[in-house]
């Protein structure tokens, strides 16, 4: 019987697969997409180093290939059921039923659908895009960067906390990485468009990680990104496809108004729909925020309420690449310990 089946071939899944393989276990990765890598495939650069995301992605894909780890692509997991002997059966979109001793869920997250914040005009106005769209744009863009409607960009505004810390979208939690992504992207825009003004509308700026605060200060001092404390109330399009935004400058307690050529919504993370789809089949406990609930947040954050079913990465909460990779490595150790005790 297979030792570990890993559901999800993003960086968490790949990292854990390589470590577990090196411990001598037999591994299978099930991935719903046609490639390994998850969301990382769509990112241009990574904070705080601003390196190319493809360097990290290529590293992990190569490591998986080097070890000849079995990967099933285009495979949707439909149910995970625990057997009386403690093993698991996994049903997927394929005909074969997978059997294994333990399961590691690295099912990641979904991006918040910005259309739900209708007042910001995503998919209504041409020049409102999300932070994920901007990464895609930066990945593929050659030559001068223009707004989706083809206009030159003289001013850009970023909106923080879109779909995060917002009861109106049903997500009360903070998505962790959008603040620093906003700073990273603001710097990038100033580098690409030295004549453009860049504004970041924030509620709080949460620069929690190593090197984040330094990058924030770099944005202020070197790149003169203008940080405005206030949340946008609404966006309207002008006849020339520019966007009028309204907010309160809460530090001076007055309303403000400006026109920008491009509006970028920093979208947060939500628990992956795939997780919810099969969580019920194995009675997996999820927290109020719909992410997987860990057995003990501090001392067993890779364990779940189901013995033999482990988790790592953004399945438990919004995490950065740094945190995801470390959590996945920890998961490999936790799974190893479990297999040692139960064999």
């Amino acid at each position: 019987m297979i030792d570990v089946i890993i559901i999800g071939g993003g960086i968490a899944g790949m990292e854990a697969a390589c470590t577990l393989h090196d411990f001598g276990f037999e591994i299978i990765i099930l991935e719903k997409d046609k490639h390994l890598g998850g969301h990382l495939q769509n990112w241009d650069t990574l904070f705080p180093t601003k390196r190319n995301a493809s360097e990290v992605l290529d590293h992990y894909v190569k490591e998986v290939q080097k070890r000849s780890i079995t990967v099933y692509l285009n495979t949707d997991v439909t149910s995970v059921t625990k057997q009386d002997n403690g093993s698991f059966e996994i049903n997927t979109s394929r005909e074969v039923v997978f059997k294994c001793k333990t399961v590691l869920m690295t099912t990641g997250y979904d991006l918040f659908n910005a259309e739900r914040k209708e007042e910001y005009g995503y998919k209504i106005y041409d020049n409102v895009i999300t932070s994920a769209d901007l990464e895609k744009l930066l990945q593929t863009n050659k030559g001068e960067l223009r707004s989706p409607s083809g206009n030159p960009i003289k001013s850009v505004a970023f909106v923080h906390c879109v779909g995060s810390r917002d009861e109106k979208s049903g997500n009360h939690y903070c998505s962790n990485v959008c603040c620093v992504t906003g700073v990273k992207q603001a710097i990038k825009m100033r580098q690409l468009l030295p004549e453009a003004q860049v504004f970041n509308f924030y509620m709080d700026l949460r620069m929690y990680g190593a090197g984040f605060e330094e990058m924030y200060r770099e944005a202020q001092e070197v790149w003169r990104v203008q940080f405005i404390r206030g949340r946008l109330s609404e966006v309207a399009e002008t006849i020339d496809k520019r966007l009028q935004v309204k907010a309160e400058d809460t530090l001076s307690a007055r309303p403000l108004r400006m026109h920008v050529d491009l509006l970028v919504l920093l979208v947060g993370m939500e628990a992956s729909k795939a997780t919810g789809d099969f969580a019920q089949s194995c009675n997996l406990a999820c927290a109020q925020n719909r992410f997987v609930e860990t057995a003990d947040f501090h001392i067993a954050s890779n364990k779940t309420n189901v013995e033999g079913l482990f988790t790592a990465g953004c399945a438990i909460a919004p995490l950065s690449v740094f945190d995801t990779v470390n959590h996945a490595k920890a998961a490999a150790l936790t799974v190893k310990e479990h297999l040692r005790l139960n064999n």
């Binding site: 200060r217 001092e221 003169r224 530090l251 001076s252 007055r254 309303p255 108004r257 400006m258």
Partner: protein, 113 residues
């Protein structure tokens, strides 16, 4: 003679389009740390002048960022240049130098009013 007709209140809205920021550019060019302000307010909390007047150096930073220079000369004159603000600033902004640059800039850029 009384003037007749309607008057409208001056808008309180901060208009970012076509904002002129010559004084801000001048200060930042000579004291780049001025742009690192987080509006924490520790400068104003320790300010001797703020104990006695409505002088507010934190607010001054924001006003200058907005290019609003009406009456700021009189505001700056309330500062006694004691420098306590620069001792407490968590971002190490040379606030006293910023005040001096405001004074110089208003004169040299002919923005004084």
């Amino acid at each position: 003679m009384n003037k007749f007709g309607f008057t409208t209140a001056k808008s309180r809205v901060i208009e970012y389009d076509n904002m002129h920021n010559k004084l801000l550019d001048y200060i930042i060019e000579n004291e780049p740390s001025f742009s690192a302000c987080l509006s924490c307010g520790s400068c104003t909390a320790t300010c001797s002048a703020a104990n006695l007047t409505n002088f507010n150096i934190r607010r001054l930073n924001i006003q200058i960022r907005h290019g609003e220079l009406d009456g700021i000369r009189q505001e700056i004159d309330k500062c006694m240049l004691c420098g306590k603000c620069l001792l407490v600033c968590p971002r190490g902004i040379n606030t006293r130098n910023a005040i001096m640059l405001m004074k110089k800039g208003l004169v040299s850029l002919e923005l004084d009013n």
